[in-house]
Amino acid sequence: MTKKQIIEEIQSKDQTIGAFLSLDQDVREADPGQSAGRLADLAMAIKDNIAVKDHPLTCASKMLKDHRAGYDATVIERLRQAGAWFVGKTNMDEFAMGGSTENSAFQKTKNPKDLSCVPGGSSGGSAAAVAGGMVSASLGSDTGGSIRQPAAYCGIVGLKPTYGRVSRYGLVAFASSFDQIGPMTTTLEECESIFSVIAGEDQRDPTCMGKAYSVQTPLKDFSQLKVGFLSDLSGVAPDVAKAYQAFCQELSDAGAKLEEIEFVLPQEAVSVYYVLSSAEASSNLGRFDGIRYGMRGQGETVEAVMRDSRGRGFGLEVKRRVLFGTHVLSAGYQDQVYKKAQRYRAMLRAKMKDLFAIYDLLLMPTTPTPAFEFGAHNDDPMAMYLEDAFTVPASLTGIPAISIPYGKSQQGLPIGMQVMASHGKEETIFSVLKGLEEKFGVFGRRDSDV
């Protein structure tokens, strides 16, 4: 098949799903079979907040509707060098704010596993493109769970790397102390392979820690492995709790030592995350004012043009967060709210450090429930935010976390399990999970998953 034929096939499949905002109709690169490299001929979908030169870069917002990227993000440069090519840009919640992809200004994306359900978000298009069999790999970005949650809802693998392990150069900033780019794939092996290409130092991102990654061998002997798991699963759907217990049992059967942990703040971390990420968003999105960047509104004065541009260019969820972020940073509230949230973040980091002094890995469900139906949380933003309860702790503390498909609900919806390790220890995550695959079968392809 030529690349043009591959694009045409994706276009046809995507009519039902709506995963892509744009497809590369003008493929100029060599056809499959002619490129070399670790990822030779791998067709990838890219979330529409990551810059791919000459491709649209809209962040699923009216604000950037006609914008095209003038350069490649570092991750794109590295993937190109490894032989991958890019079929198009995927739908997302506007500026990556949301957990269902319902906040896209342009279109609805359906969950390929159940068309009445959301694919999750904000990287919902990237997850749906993989789960719908259009590509085998995509890139997403994760601020509070935006790779892991859609991966869980769509039954695929999604990795949020350690903060700083993958360059953010070329990623449109939402909350700079949280944002990370990561792979979303059908298999663990592909996820690791892509991560090994995109991880490593980048002079253009000062927060990049400069630690490359090499593909790991599967763990054979689990007897020295210590794993912490949650005993309190209140608020978790019964099907998810059952899958979680089965996953813990699988690790125990492999020989790992499992111990119950008391983890402060799974739910409480949510409001800390929203205070801090919204504060950063209010600052990062300040540049989209119709003067410096973005859709130009109307008005008699500069101030009026800005107010109109931002009032019409941003959707409801972006306004909510920018306004909330502005509020918590305003005089009188900075000490009371923003500084307090920073201290909670520091406390959570200290707690996490204590836990990783004892355990190699921590296990949590990725989400409290499987994918929900469209519109289920439209009238209750807090219910939507609380879906992030298990993903935000890794985001607040900067540790790596992966979601793997593990079983299905009674309704046949995929369930995701989350495995977390200490800073820069993606090696442990992949080695352990590959060891489990050798013993019990490939995640996502077991009888319980299909």
């Binding site: 409480e268 509020h327 520091a346 933003p381």
Partner: protein
């Protein structure tokens, strides 16, 4: 809350659409209530730095004193947690 919202809209230079205001207010109220329930930041005599007093349940509290860095800038005080070790 409406007053806070209008002030934030003015500072953020966003023209508010009246129909969106209730949905934005709802998120403000929900997040603030959730956040206020968390606990307090206390000056405890036995600790050098301010401590997080976490409300672990209705009757119990736990105090933490993480290793944070505080710095004062010209016009605002910031608490900078070290994201990476």
């Amino acid at each position: 809350m409406r007053k806070h919202l209008e002030k934030a809209a003015k500072l953020a230079r966003i023209a508010l659409n009246e129909e969106e205001v209730p949905a934005i207010e709802q998120a403000f109220v929900g997040l603030m209530a959730h956040f206020e329930h968390l606990g307090t930041i206390e000056d405890l005599p036995e600790m050098k730095r301010k401590a997080v007093r976490l409300r672990t349940d209705e009757t119990a509290v736990t105090d933490y004193q993480p290793d944070w860095e505080e710095r004062e800038t010209k016009d605002q005080a910031l608490v900078i947690p070290r994201v990476m070790d």
